[in-house]
């Protein structure tokens, strides 16, 4: 299934909770303030790198660019636009937003 996270990992526990629940074969999409989690040097970097070895992790390009973070995406994270967001929802059987 697709897990959608929209909160900064430094501010809230949403990403952390999500990472503990995602199953093998699951995917994580980072949108809005959650895209900071996918940037190099952020405090959650190791956390996310660990996740990358087990799940596919995506980050929304328009949200990265809005925040001036488009050029700082960690290796292994796949960036997508809104069309890609739609495709991810369609490709997975179900989705959960970690609000």
């Amino acid at each position: 299934m697709l897990h959608i996270v929209n909160k900064s990992p430094a501010e809230r526990n949403a990403l952390e909770s999500c990472l503990r629940v995602v199953q093998e074969g699951g995917a994580i999409l980072l949108i809005e303030d959650a895209v900071y989690a996918a940037t190099r040097g952020n405090a959650a970097e190791n956390h996310l790198r660990d996740a990358l070895s087990r799940f596919k992790v995506y980050a929304l390009t328009p949200d990265l660019e809005a925040r001036g973070m488009g050029d700082r995406v960690m290796a292994g994270v796949t960036t997508v636009d809104y069309g890609g967001f739609v495709d991810l929802v369609a490709e997975h059987k179900n989705c959960q937003s970690w609000l």
Binding site: N6, G83, V86, C95
Partner: protein
Amino acid sequence: MKFAVTINEGPYQHQASDSAYLFCRAALEKGHEIRRVFFYNDGVNNASSLTEPPLDDRNIVARWSKLAEEHKLDLVVCVAAALRRGIRDENLASGFRISGLGQLVEAGIEADRLVTFGD
């Protein structure tokens, strides 16, 4: 594919309504159907006809009305949540309708995917 979307936050304060709008537009461009957009919690405030953002800012409410008109979207505002927050027929923007929470459940049943946007 048939999508349904829920929005739980009002306009401007949170990005939820912006993200949902861009998601819906992208889905429509890809030929998907948006079965329903359901506005719940503070999300009902997206339906206020009285909003008037600064001229250099996006008009979130008008943008939803326009998308609804162009694609015959069903924009449903939860009646109980709306009454709590002061959204009624008299300040309801065009393209929105007020109805019960059952419309959300029905959308969940009928759509292939339900995506929630919130805080």
